[in-house]
Amino acid sequence: MSSPEKLQKAIKVIAQLSIDTASRTFSKLIKSGATIDLERAFMADISEVTRIFSGSEDEVVGAYVDLVGEAPFTFLFFVSAPDSLTLTDLMLRREVGTTREFDLYAKSAVQEIGNVLASAIVNVFSRDFGIAMKPTPPAVTRDYVGTVFEEYIVKSAGELNELFVMESRFCVVQFDIKCHMFIVPLPGSDEILQSVLESPNMKEYY
């Protein structure tokens, strides 16, 4: 049995590949260049990590997806409420500024971005590592960033007090839009990720 550190390294490698794919997919979806602004993986105490956004005034729209299958994960994508309107226009190839209020299409835009990004991650799992996974239809909510993030940690943590969190931030360069994406492996992922450690694909990374 490998050490927790080795397992975390395996998860980080998979996550990096997934995030690269996700960022390219995101650019294609909105037909605008998106770069990865931040990428980190860390063990997070659930109290410390939720304190970051606690009490903030910021309003965001978040899409939650469960990645179910051999290696269960949770996924969250969120963007500020005003920027969700810009993303809607980009997806619909409309002039930016056309969507002025958070309507059905703006909500659906975030839902679909969540769906496509989570699917991009699932594709990496299955194509590169042979791990069978499937995303559930996204649940979308618009609320305070602290509330959106809290619900994600509550969903992911269950009985755990610490989570291995992979955070990335995309920047849509032309419009200075920042989007956050998180993935967290759930109990039950360990065994299959363990077997991935031994695969030839993985060995070239460490």
């Binding site: 809607t88 619909l92 699917s119 995303p135």
Partner: protein, 120 residues
């Protein structure tokens, strides 16, 4: 060549994106459905020339809906639309009788060529 299309996807924005592409290219969108159950029912009522069918949807997924549509009409033309590159599900769909598939995020050109080929 028929030009009546039914769009099935649980995301309203995807339905609108597809509709914009199809209408711009001279097709008529006769119905939009947001889940597989609605898709099967509406197909039976309207018998469109072609269906674009999302795979992952709540209530009834695209594979199940495809199966029921083809059981009702063996000549139905269905183009699957998926964000997940699920080879197994797509191969199953093709074996069941789907005509083609489009992977999200899709380009207009790809949508148009898949639809045009399917309708020939």
């Amino acid at each position: 060549m028929g030009r009546r299309i039914m769009i099935v996807d649980d995301a309203p924005i995807v339905r609108l994106m597809l509709k914009d592409i199809l209408v711009y290219n001279g097709y008529e969108v006769v119905a939009e459905c947001s889940n597989g159950a609605e898709a099967v029912q509406t197909y039976k009522e309207l018998k469109p020339d072609l269906v674009t069918l999302d795979i992952i949807m709540p209530e009834k997924d695209g594979i199940e809906a495809l199966s029921e549509i083809l059981a009702f009409d063996a000549r139905a033309r269905v183009v699957m639309v998926t964000a997940v590159d699920q080879r197994e599900a797509l191969m199953k769909a093709i074996r069941l009788g789907a005509t083609d598939y489009i992977v999200k995020p899709f380009e207009s050109e790809r949508v148009v060529s898949a639809i045009a080929n399917a309708l020939q």
